[in-house]
Symmetry: C2
Subunit: 374 residues, 2 copies
């Protein structure tokens, strides 16, 4: 496989950067004294996960399809970290029956009852964490909620309580590294308070699971926490670079595209990467630097700071100069390959079914499949 | 398969609505006296296409993977309606070698030369349309461009000129049906002028291919046009409903999801359809009614006009009342199934790998696969 013969659009994964990002988070978890439970939802690839998620360790998934794929690949300790609905419990029970230590997530008494009921009916005790809301960002109950004990009670009739979990998604909106570190402390503090309430009430709740890439990288201390979850750090993306938790050059993922043509008088370079390739994610639009639909690099990965993927149609993207100035048609000639760095790696990767893996000289060395859908 | 046992999120396709939408566009093309070349890029499913694109007729595709899939299913007249890049030409030649009448799209002399060169080297004459820009919306050259003859000349050294093509994507931004009809006339007028220049110069250019769902439905007259392309009409979506070219009740596609929980004091209903299921498309944000990430229906398809999918995380969506008022937790109890109507059917469907097809009583009758990626 020759780089210049790659058919575009395709998704490139820089293996050396993936390895460096994996090593960085591993060192963080070790320094903080917690187990790392990498989230595989960004790359959804067993081959990629081998680099950042040891097969004998813990992983996090966002769908039961991921759980099944990774179970088949030998992963045995899997946390499905999305609030579970009743119509997924039979399938979850099957995964547990297959020998996987699968942990579910709930934040309602009704959910706890459903898990307990399926545990009884299938004679497979299902385990769950109770989701704690630490930042008002999405699901979960507050640490001091009156619902905490009723949920634990309903769950443990026939199911098993694993502990408490949270995701400080609010960290994505922080405006400084200091604010992220404060968010990490809040994440730690509220979950530990919740688990202490459970333990004081006599429940066996061994795990305190926290994490998001920003808080994982910025936390000062994780006393009381048992495991750290993070996912997007494996590849990083422009949102993370905008937050300051990585450099643009750390981003391991990019979409290779080719120049289709130009609208010279408008300063447009048309490429064959539209929203179908890069997604519609505008995650940097609220950050200091709005990267629109993605930053632009030359085919060899050199950052072209003056350009941005300004607009996207289904299979066509429009690159412009950030200052709106005229483009150099000779530099962006018909057929020229370019790379687009993603705003949000999870969203861009989801548009593809495989990665072209690059070696240290940018040469394609392998193709790794990924799994989508549910 | 029982509707209430469907695991969520999943993508529902209402067969009766698909059939009605197909019949409507077929009647339009007949009335306008042009051949219909349906675009299969929205549903990307051979089984669905059987309803709106006869196998012995013309189709349009947005990727070579679609071209290969439909060729294998027996479709022989395929227009790949995205400006082609050099790294796709070998694959295109293979498709032609397999007996398909494949038409490519270009708007540069360099692209024309590349097609001519591959035609010569592979001894397979490749055919192409020249893309005309009729609305300043994306690629293509103006009808009166100085590049028109040089492109036709470069192409026809070893390749074949099929004619001219355009897509009036600007019609998506029109504010009235009258404005869409005017856009359709502009689309017709500019492409016919372009082809007349080619014919006057002695080129054999039989085809004049125009279309977008809005202009196809609103065009008053298509004199000079030979074929009409449209895609999203098969399922329609909220963007089309917002433009007024269909009713909300015509939308054949929806995402079935389940209630995970609530944040009652915030008026939030959490569901298991996040951006991974509905996409990040905010296509109605500039319309009179902003549908945010999608409109909400009960499981049976009844429109719940007071609610909207307000925000999305990867695997979680947040439904709120449009007026921000309090939610009725009993109506949206844990586990309740709901449907989300998509802003943009092409984008939402792309998040899935199959459709659950519903019969006239909303009962699941089949599962149809779709193809993604390139």
């Amino acid at each position: 496989m020759n780089f210049k013969d790659l058919e575009t659009p395709c998704l490139l994964l820089d293996k050396a950067k993936l390895e460096a990002n994996a090593a960085r988070m591993k060192a963080r978890a070790e320094k903080l004294g917690v187990a790392l439970r990498p989230h595989v939802k960004t790359l959804k690839s067993v081959e990629a996960a081998k680099i950042y998620a040891p097969r004998d360790g813990r992983i996090t998934v966002s769908t039961l399809r991921e759980a099944e794929l990774f179970a088949e690949a030998g992963y045995k300790d899997i946390f499905y970290a999305v609030g579970v609905t009743p119509n997924k419990l039979e399938r979850a029970a099957k995964i547990v029956k297959g020998g996987v230590d699968l942990t579910l997530l709930i934040d309602t008494v009704e959910g706890a009852r459903a898990i307990s009921d399926v545990s009884e009916n299938s004679a497979i005790p299902l385990s769950a964490m109770i989701e704690i809301d630490v930042d008002g960002h999405r699901a979960g109950i507050p640490w001091d909620s009156d619902d905490l004990m009723p949920i634990a009670q309903a769950l443990t009739i026939h199911g098993r309580l694993r502990g408490v979990a949270t995701h400080a998604g609010g960290s994505y909106g922080c405006k400084s590294l200091e604010a992220i570190a404060d968010m990490a402390e809040q994440e730690r503090d509220f979950t530990v308070r919740a688990v202490e309430r459970l333990r004081d009430a006599g429940f066996d709740a061994p795990e305190v699971s926290v994490g998001s890439t920003p808080t994982a990288l910025m936390a000062r201390d994780l006393t009381g926490v048992t495991e750290l979850r993070a996912g997007v750090y494996a590849s990083f993306d422009l949102v993370m670079a905008g937050l300051g938790v990585c450099a643009v050059n750390d981003i391991a993922l990019s979409v290779l595209c080719s120049v289709i043509g130009h609208q010279e008088e408008k300063g447009w370079i048309l490429v064959d990467a539209g929203w179908m390739a890069v997604s519609r994610d505008l995650g940097t639009s609220g950050q200091a630097v709005d990267q629109r639909y993605g930053a632009v690099c030359a085919a060899d990965g050199k950052f072209l700071a003056d350009y941005v993927l300004h607009a996207v149609n289904q299979e066509q993207g429009i690159i412009t100069r950030r200052d709106g100035g005229p483009i150099d048609k000779d530099v962006f000639a018909y057929g020229t390959q370019l790379r687009i760095l993603p705003n949000h790696a999870c969203a861009t990767a989801a548009q593809f079914d495989q990665y072209v893996v690059l070696g240290s000289g940018n040469e394609p060395t392998a193709v790794w499949p990924r799994v989508n859908a549910w």
